[in-house]
């Protein structure tokens, strides 16, 4: 089910501005990888190149290779739509579809893609909501609009929506930055469960969170404002937080700069 990601020599541009430069890394299946680094160093940009969402931005352009189990996402003839069905995404701000009910939000991916059987739909929605730890809170009001939920519930709804289409990889861009500690814990627990089935990549500004949930941690940095962001190092989370091999990583993690 889960797939390996193999990035080599990847650079991304906004128009003529180079946002990330020459990034290479391997992400193993069924692991959680955390991206950390200062604001503006290109974590979101890099994440979005992994499911070809970067090119949705006007002027967005990518160079380099991203292999998903040996298949290049940027190879000739690859359809970005089918890439995004394999590599799902959860955004920083919860964004449920405002015209749809809770049920329809979770079913949206299947319905909009048209590949489901009617009698399966109820089961899939229930399974996904349970998977996102939301089922008990919403099972009595599945027909109410998704925008009527609290922020944390909305974010879990978005996670349910993303896992309902059974992607191989799940990308999360600061999924907890707008949430209270309890919802954050709920989502962290959820990540621990989801990792049995998916390959997970998560961007976070919260060091404790990276240390708690991830197996591997990648540290990004940029030389100066306006310069492209670079991958400084990627290693086992334990090592990054106890004994990183690059001084800049240690400075960033311990809060020393300059």
């Amino acid at each position: 089910m889960a797939k390996r990601i193999d990035v080599s020599g990847l650079s991304a541009y906004y128009g003529s501005h180079k946002a990330i430069d020459d990034i290479s890394m391997t992400i193993e299946p069924r692991t959680v990888t955390a991206f950390i680094g200062p604001s503006g160093c290109g974590k979101s940009t890099f994440l979005r190149t992994l499911n070809r969402m970067h090119e949705v931005t006007p002027g967005g352009r990518v160079e380099g290779k991203v292999l998903l189990d040996d298949e290049d996402l940027y190879g000739a003839g690859v359809d970005p739509v089918s890439v995004r069905r394999e590599v799902g995404m959860v955004f920083q701000r919860p964004n449920p579809f405002p015209t749809m009910s809770i049920f329809d939000n979770v079913a949206a991916g299947l319905r909009l893609n048209g590949n489901y059987r009617k009698n399966e739909l109820n089961d899939i929605v229930e399974k996904s909501l349970k998977g996102a730890n939301l089922w008990n809170e919403v099972k009595d009001r599945l027909n109410k609009p998704g925008s009527g939920l609290s922020g944390g519930q909305q974010q879990r709804l978005c996670i349910a929506r993303a896992i309902a289409v059974e992607p191989k990889v799940l990308l999360m861009d600061e999924p907890c930055s707008a949430l209270d500690p309890i919802s954050t814990l709920a989502i962290e627990d959820l990540i621990g469960e989801l990792k049995e089935r998916f390959t997970i990549v998560i961007v976070t500004h919260n060091m404790q969170q990276a240390a708690r949930v991830s197996d591997r941690t990648a540290f990004f940095n940029l030389a100066a404002v306006g310069q492209p962001g670079k991958l400084i190092e990627i290693d086992d989370t334990e090592r990054i937080f106890s004994n990183p091999s690059v001084q800049a990583t240690e400075d960033y993690i311990s809060g020393r700069f300059g």
Binding site: R84, T99, G109, N113
Partner: protein
């Protein structure tokens, strides 16, 4: 010690205050002043005394408020009163127009009037009605909408969702130009193209063509604005689920903005319903019921009003009918606006 201090010094947080009723008192005073000055100077026009009263009101408000409350509060009051004056200036013509139309229109406005044509009534005689004109207007406006709404909405979708580069710029430019086309020019264009070159003859449909030219840019503009209001996050959420772009537009973007788009379309319909000039050139007008918009002259409400005025050499019966038809036209547009508001409220993405 401290009590004597506070009582001696004025508080910096709590200044003097005019009582709540003071604006009303100033209004009453300035109206009295306006009437008094007019009477003394022998002015008779109500516009003159109203203007004097308005000026007195603004000056008095500033003066009194500056004395009691200070300069900043006085400026605040002046801004408030200027807005009220502007509001009244805007509402008075509108209200008097509606009042006049209703007053003159109700004389012959009844079920008979709505369900009969002018087929057997001479223009100078009493009786008759606007049934044929209502049919004509409904068909012409309906056909114009059938042409203009799909083209307009699709154009807006192209501009917002796909358009970049030269083509989109060119389309935007032409839409801007079209917005400024006077209705008589649209009528002349269809006259020369449809009737003179293609030799098609006068019909309701010819009028619809001209109306659709007038309607299209309005639909494009309003739909564009509504589509731009849909947050990009929703598009990205859908795309990230592996939904193709066209389905994202169809199933996520359009449903989110459908309320606003409908409102825009209704307002565009309301705008073209009152167009007279192209009708004069293309639909020709008739006193008889013609249910077929593709063949032969038809009537329409604005055209009917004009013809009742123009062809009747001042007969009172015709004037009454013209006012009643005007009332029907205003009522129709009003109903469209209400329906548009209802749809917008009903379709707005809800919180509960």
């Amino acid at each position: 010690m401290s009590t004597t201090l506070t009582s001696k010094h004025r508080s910096t947080l709590r200044g003097g205050h005019l009582p709540k009723w003071s604006p009303l008192a100033i209004i009453a005073g300035s109206v009295a002043a306006g009437l008094g000055i007019s009477a003394a100077a022998g002015l008779h026009s109500s516009i003159q005394w109203a203007l004097i009263a308005a000026v007195v009101f603004v000056v008095a408000t500033y003066g009194i408020a500056a004395k009691v409350e200070g300069r900043r509060q006085a400026k605040d009051r002046i801004a408030t009163s200027l807005i009220w004056v502007a509001f009244l200036l805007a509402v008075i013509p509108l209200a008097s127009l509606v009042w006049e139309t209703v007053k003159r229109g109700v004389k012959v406005f009844d079920v008979y009037f709505l369900t009969h044509s002018m087929g057997v009534v001479a223009d100078t005689e009493p009786g008759g009605g606007i049934y044929h004109a209502i049919i004509g207007t409904l068909e012409q406006v309906g056909l114009a909408s059938l042409i203009a709404v799909p083209i307009g909405v699709l154009t807006a979708i192209y501009l917002v969702e796909y358009g970049k580069g030269k083509l989109a710029k060119a389309i935007t430019f032409f839409v801007d130009v079209m917005t400024g086309i006077p209705s008589i020019v649209a009528g002349l264009f269809i006259l020369s193209f449809w009737i003179l070159i293609l030799d098609m003859g006068y019909s309701g449909f010819a009028g619809s063509l001209a109306l659709s030219i007038l309607m299209m840019p309005v639909v494009v503009r309003s739909t564009e604005e509504m589509l731009k209001l849909v947050p990009n996050e929703l598009r990205e959420a859908s795309l990230a689920l592996g939904v193709p772009k066209w389905r994202t537009i169809l199933k996520v973007v359009l449903p989110t903005s459908i309320g606003g788009i409908t409102t825009g379309v209704m307002l565009a319909v309301a705008r073209i319903t009152g167009e007279t000039a192209p009708m004069l050139l293309l639909v020709w007008g008739t006193n008889f019921i013609n249910n077929n918009p593709f063949e032969g002259p038809q009537a329409s409400l604005p055209l009917y009003i004009y013809q009742q005025y123009a062809n009747s050499s001042g007969a009172n019966a015709a004037y009454d009918r013209a006012w009643a038809a005007a009332l029907a036209l205003i009522a129709f547009v009003m109903i469209l606006n209400l329906v548009a508001r209802g749809i917008a409220r009903w379709k707005a993405p809800s919180q509960h």
